[in-house]
Amino acid sequence: MSKIKDAFTKGKAFIPFISAGDHGIENTERYIRIMVKAGADMVEIGIPFSDPTAEGPVIQEASTRALSTGVKIHDIFDMVRRLRTGDDAVTVPLVFMTYLNPIYVFGREKFFTLCEEVGISGVIVPDMPFEEKGELGTIAHKHGVEVVSLIAPTSENRIEMIAKEAEGFVYCVSSLGVTGMRSEIKTDIKSIVETIRKYTDIPVAVGFGISKPEQAEAMARVSDGAIVGSAIVKIIAEHGENADQALFDYVQSMKQAVLKAGA
């Protein structure tokens, strides 16, 4: 199975997020393939949650749309299984981004057994801070799944503790607030990443608020990659089932932007 670190072997990484089931799970599957062809180094697949408290309006609406199609966690595992098989199998690392409750109630053992089976390399769970990571850690590790840690602009004295135990990559949250596109990122990301690097050798990628190539390039310049969610979700919201070309072009331009940062 591919590991998260593989995403950081082709220059600076570009990591898009997609809300599974938004406009139908078949479209999600096709869009993931397109994004990987366009240069995505890893894909964050969002398991929609009814009450996503860390998301801004764009991803909240995508979650609502996805759930209204009746998509279940089992359908999402089935989709990943399809992505991982056949001649055109997707080989880049895939991670789930979701909240604790869907994993906990679905059944942690069952969830991570399936992750291992279908080829999910890690999980990102924004409502599980360092103090509570025991909820998933042991079971996830038993199945070879890494639990990604988030570090925020407010983490300060917590960075050392979190970074020392971080695995896969460190998700550096660029700004206060929830997910969503921002015209400007004011946080001193450079100094946060430098602090993180004092305590860990694993890659650091920056997310929250990034939508434009210039922002991705700027973030990748001071880190190992850029994560984009809301901008991708917005393209799908606008184009519905016909987002193929728009998604391809966007992801390609973003990958080129982060590569420029590494050059």
Binding site: V105, D127, T154
Partner: protein
């Protein structure tokens, strides 16, 4: 007994917050531990309760209700007589004094029926702090009068249109806003829920209810009650009513959940009766949800009980068997609303009417030596229009 995990009540509670807010909740816990026993803080809190809230609240012997039911003696703990008309002020004054000491100049709050929002707006006015309240758009409509009250008090009310446009969405939106701005802002959570330390802080500030009631009943009757009961949404008035009676093993603790149109329908908010263990809104507790952990849309005639979860200490009291939780339907609550109004001349909040309804069921089965204390958590003026509508009376011109 094994040592309690930090921030947990048995298996329930915890601190399931986004990393962005972790230092904020840690700072809050440190400030609370620093000030809760500080003589100056305690003096200021007690002084405000005496001179502003109007405490101690009365423990009223409901003679006509007792005679009518023909069993246990009924007492009402009159939290409805507090300034702003509910128990919510007990917690808000405490948290706002704390927020001030933490150097915060702005507070945000969620509200369901509007009682907590009104209490927060009131104390913000008193203390000269900026106040913004998040309220489900549907609740804004159900409780339009409270929206205007908050605005009158100088607060800004944000109608929340995400999800089911009710209390749970207001909590989510307040949490999102706190993530956005925490350096000058304290989130005045209104119930014994959310991430640690909120369930502990809110319970401590609300426990004044049982501290007074225990003394008052001993003075009036020379013995402890057979049962104390309260309505439960998130569970703050119930936690306050239970707390000092928990060590008194002979005292039954009864929480009354909103069963809406019945626990056998899809339209209820009976978390203990119908929910399962999950992790949401910062805490591990019971929630109404599906097999994929999607939070269920809940329903109650009472906006204040219309919440899909319950505070973690209640989950613990339920699992350990120390407290009982029973469902009460809309119909039963509305009947009790009218019953108490006519029999005792006290119009209860529709939330509190859930507890009154259950007392009507069990008091007749008890003996005249038994005593029940009902926490009358709020006054019912806010509900009059909705009750008229329920009975098919059109109050509009």
């Amino acid at each position: 007994m094994s040592e309690q995990r930090h921030g947990y009540f048995g298996a329930f509670g915890g601190q399931f917050m986004p990393e962005t807010l972790m230092n904020a909740v840690i700072e809050l816990e440190e400030a609370y531990n620093k000030y809760k026993d500080d003589p100056e803080f305690v003096r200021e809190l007690e002084d405000l309760h005496k001179k502003y809230t109007g405490r101690p609240s009365l423990l009223y012997y409901a003679d006509r209700m007792t005679k009518d039911l023909g069993g246990a003696k009924i007492y009402l703990k009159r939290e409805d007589l507090n300034h702003t008309g509910s128990h919510k002020l007990n917690n808000v004054i405490g948290q706002m004094l704390l927020a001030k000491r933490m150097g915060k100049t702005r507070v945000i709050a969620e509200t369901g029926a509007g009682q907590h929002g009104v209490a927060t707006a009131t104390v913000a006015a008193l203390m000269g702090m900026e106040c913004e309240v998040f309220m489900g758009a549907e609740d804004c409509e159900r409780q339009a009068l409270n929206v205007y009250r908050m605005e009158l008090l100088g607060a800004k009310v944000h109608p929340v249109t995400t999800g089911t446009s009710t209390l749970k969405d207001a909590v989510s939106e307040a949490m999102r806003e706190w993530t956005n701005r925490m350096s000058d802002t304290h989130y005045v959570l209104g119930s014994v829920m959310g991430a640690h330390p909120f369930p502990m802080i809110v319970r401590d500030f609300q426990s004044i209810i049982s501290r007074e009631a225990r003394e008052q009943i001993l003075e009036a009757e020379g013995k402890l009650p057979t049962a104390v009961m309260a309505c439960v949404g998130g569970g703050s008035n119930a936690m306050g009513m239970f707390y000092h009676f928990i060590p008194d093993e002979g005292v039954r603790l009864i929480g009354c959940e909103a069963a809406g149109r019945g626990v056998d329908t899809e339209e209820h908010a009976a978390t203990i009766a119908k929910g399962s263990v999950g992790i949401f809104h910062g805490m591990k507790s019971y929630f109404c949800q599906d097999e994929d952990g999607q939070i269920a849309p809940v329903y109650s005639i009472s906006a204040g009980l219309d919440y899909p979860g319950i505070g973690p200490e209640h989950a613990y009291l339920h699992d350990s068997g120390r407290a009982e939780y029973v469902p009460v339907t809309d119909d039963e609550a509305v009947d009790a609303f009218e019953y108490l109004s006519r029999l005792e001349g006290i119009i209860p909040a529709i939330e509190s009417a859930h507890a009154v309804a259950h007392a009507r069921k069990i008091a007749p089965t008890m003996s005249k030596d038994d005593i029940i204390i009902i926490c009358l958590s709020g006054r019912g003026d806010k509900d009059v229009a909705a009750m008229a509508k329920y009975r098919g009376v059109d109050l509009h011109e």
